[in-house]
């Protein structure tokens, strides 16, 4: 079959099962857009900014487990994708980002809209390609998808010179990849599994610390089986929310800077920490030398570079979380009963230090999150922006299902949630999708309201409007003597009017007793997005709070 490079690209994407591309056109991708014009099997969603396209592809990927695809032109189009690529890279999200590049005879001459995209994206991609020959397109696409979705997933950039998109080639899609330098280890070494099983069987106070790797591996069931068989409590990182049901009796819920007190106490007291698909991030560990000071460490991760990076590990196991947990569950025999004393201790902490907030006449942001959980019966996909609202969403959404939590953890990207919600809604047309937002963050990618309205996406945007860059304000209150430098947003625009101007619905809520009604009303709107502007208590703080550089047990509880 003779095809142009652009046609070969689209055919290759079809072979990879791509059904959606989020993108934005420009000069160097015109040949690709011309093919998309007639294409039926792949739908192209025009966002209003390339950052929006990248986050949408990311939200689609996180909520479905498929590879997200986006497309941008060279130069400014490509540089606008950078925040989205870095966000996906930090959270190990499989993306294929296709960018146009100036024609090969113009590369290296500072040509119009030329940017060194492979150079710029090199530290924030799992891999990248500059394609100068049309003949290379099928192989590169095949490799890119393979790399993006296998092992520790991540974003891959394909930068394609314009002339390579035009040239005709004989199209044949390869059926195998040939990457001698890339062979992820999926199955943990039997000797290590045996050593871990031994350690687990004699532990008196074990804790499982599960991260996003469990979700990427599709290992939630294996995690539950493992925890239940051995009666081991489970705490998850923010990225791991949904990997273990938060209403389970063994759930310690989230740990770390804004984790539950009982999760953090359990970490500090445990004698064995079993880390699965988690990477000991500083937001999780607090002051590193005092993290889990009494514990032996087992660390299961598909990425060998994560093991031993931040903490010393007693039993490292390189392997896929699902497979390894399964193998471990089979191997381990509990010798120490069900460590009842330990479970009892944890239950006491749970009773004594539950997540809590004070109710008063104002709308408490935590209450809004609780109500969202209630009216959606915990079935919604919760996307978030970054800030206090994100932490309250993490604390009070009581997530029970993998891939229902879509939030930027590693990079902490404000402006991520709304476009990610667009991607999540496209990927899950029958589910309720919320973006829990702050008034600061929502203004970072508000332009995507146009995308959501045009496609009649019934996304609910719940703005916890505190008229502040609340998370930064909280740090200023607690660590900088209330010097609120540049965090007051008192001259915010009317967010409801903005939403309406785009053609979305909008509801403003100012009293606690209106919250539930407003949410129920929003759920009935099915043909367009709805923004609900909650005027929440302005100087509410997120607790527990482990001040930066402190040990987890030194957290402020309220």
């Amino acid at each position: 079959m003779e095809l142009t490079g652009a046609q070969a690209l689209i055919e290759s994407l079809k072979k990879e099962g791509v059904e959606l591309i989020f993108g934005y056109p420009g000069g160097t991708v015109l040949p690709i857009y011309d093919v998309l014009y007639k294409e039926k099997a792949i739908k192209h969603i025009l966002t209003r900014h390339e950052q929006g396209a990248t986050h949408a592809a990311d939200g689609y990927a996180r909520s479905t487990g498929k590879v997200g695809v986006c497309l941008a032109t060279s130069g400014p189009g490509a540089t606008n994708t950078i925040t989205g690529i870095a966000t996906a890279f930090m959270d190990s999200v499989p993306l294929v980002v296709i960018t146009g590049q100036v024609a090969t005879n113009l590369i290296g001459r500072d040509s119009f809209q030329e940017a060194d995209v492979t150079g710029i994206t090199q530290p924030i991609t799992k891999h990248n390609y500059l394609v100068k020959r049309a003949e290379d397109i099928p192989t590169v696409v095949k490799e890119a998808f393979h790399i993006a979705r296998t092992g520790r997933p991540g974003p891959v950039v394909i930068d394609i010179a314009k002339d390579a998109q035009v040239k005709k080639i004989k199209f044949k899609y390869p059926d195998k990849v040939n990457l001698p330098g890339y062979k992820p280890t999926l199955k943990g070494h039997p000797r290590q599994i045996k050593a871990a099983a031994k350690m687990i069987s004699i532990a008196k106070k074990p804790v499982i610390y599960a991260g996003g790797g469990v979700i990427s591996a599709g290992g939630a069931k294996e995690l539950k089986d493992f925890a239940e068989k051995l009666n081991i409590p489970v705490t998850t990182t923010m990225m791991g929310l949904g990997a273990f049901p938060e209403d389970h009796k063994l759930a310690l819920r989230m740990l770390g800077m804004h984790g539950t007190a009982y999760a953090n106490y359990a970490i500090q007291e445990c004698d064995l920490l079993i880390a699965v698909g988690a990477r000991f991030d500083d937001r999780v560990t607090g002051h590193l030398p005092t993290f889990a000071p009494k514990a032996k460490h087992i660390h299961i991760d598909i990425d060998p570079a994560e093991i031993g990076k931040n903490v010393r590990v007693d039993v490292p196991i390189v392997g896929d979380a699902k497979q390894t947990l399964k193998d471990l569950t089979e191997k381990v025999k509990p010798e120490n009963g069900k460590h009842d004393a330990w479970i009892k201790q944890i239950d006491e902490w749970k009773d004594k230090y539950p997540l809590k907030y004070k109710k008063d006449k104002r709308i408490k942001p935590q209450y809004v999150v609780e109500m969202i959980q209630q009216v959606t019966k915990g079935k919604a996909i919760i996307c978030t922006e970054v800030g206090q609202h994100q932490m309250w969403a993490a604390q009070y959404s009581k997530l029970t299902v993998p891939r229902t939590w879509v939030s930027s953890g590693g990079l902490g990207t404000m402006g991520y949630g709304f476009p990610a919600a667009i991607g999540a809604q496209f990927g899950n047309p029958d589910k309720i999708v919320f973006d829990i937002a702050g008034d600061g963050s929502i203004q970072m990618n508000m332009q995507e309201m146009a995308t959501a309205v045009i496609h009649k996406l019934p996304i609910k945007i719940a703005v916890l409007n505190n008229c502040f860059l609340g998370m930064v304000r909280q740090w200023q209150e607690l660590l900088y003597d209330k010097r609120y430098s540049s965090t007051n947003l008192c001259n915010n625009p009317d967010l409801c009017k903005i939403a309406e101007a785009y053609g979305a619905a909008a509801i403003r809520v100012t009293k606690p007793d209106e919250v539930k009604n407003a949410l129920e009303k929003a759920l009935k709107i099915k043909d367009r997005p709805v923004l609900i502007d909650f005027a929440v208590a302005k100087e509410e703080n997120v607790f527990p709070f482990v001040p930066p550089g402190q040990a987890l047990n030194e957290m402020l509880i309220d």
């Binding site: 492979t118 150079g119 090199q122 530290p123 799992k126 891999h127 990248n128 500059l130 790399i147 990457l179 001698p180 330098g181 890339y182 990425d303 060998p304 570079a305 031993g308 990076k309």
Partner: protein
């Protein structure tokens, strides 16, 4: 501590940037770097001498392995490696001193590769210390120009 790290890579565009970028991003200073093809034309060997603590080095080796185009990485301990550096040294030499310079050249089993009226250009290939010793001995004649390749190394035996 100083380490000699050998990185075997697929000969693909951008691979050197990828490898060297990792060192600087993770806070390792590269002291010397040499790249060249191997017995297989599509495979190159990058030899890097760098200084840093063992834990950082371990992290860098793991990060190197994660690069798709990286096939193999070795940290070569000095006692198990054959190490060489090549230097070209243009040294001042006239009728009076030429003899003395050539003696030093012979002593180091080096070679004179260019002769001019007032200079000699010497090629020396040896271990780093030797190259440096020779350089020291030649200094009194006046070194006009000097270039060193950076270390290359192979594991002994096997």
């Amino acid at each position: 501590m100083k380490h000699t790290i050998s990185v075997i890579v697929e000969n693909k565009p951008g691979v050197l940037h990828r490898v060297s970028g990792l060192f600087s991003r993770r806070g390792f200073n590269i002291e010397s770097l040499a790249v060249g093809t191997t017995e297989k034309p599509d495979v190159s060997r990058i030899t890097i001498v760098a200084e840093g603590d063992d834990q950082t080095l371990e992290q860098i080796i793991k990060q190197l392995y994660k690069q798709i185009d990286v096939l193999k990485v070795f940290d070569l301990p000095a006692d198990q490696a054959i190490e060489r550096e090549l230097a070209l040294i243009k040294v001042h030499a006239n009728d009076k001193t030429r003899q003395e310079v050539t003696q030093i050249v012979d002593m180091f089993q080096a070679r004179v590769v260019d002769v001019a009226e007032d200079s000699l250009t010497i090629e020396v290939s040896a271990e780093k210390d030797k190259v440096e010793n020779m350089q020291k001995l030649l200094e009194k004649f006046g070194i006009q120009e000097l270039v060193r390749t950076g270390k290359i190394a192979l594991q002994r035996g096997g």
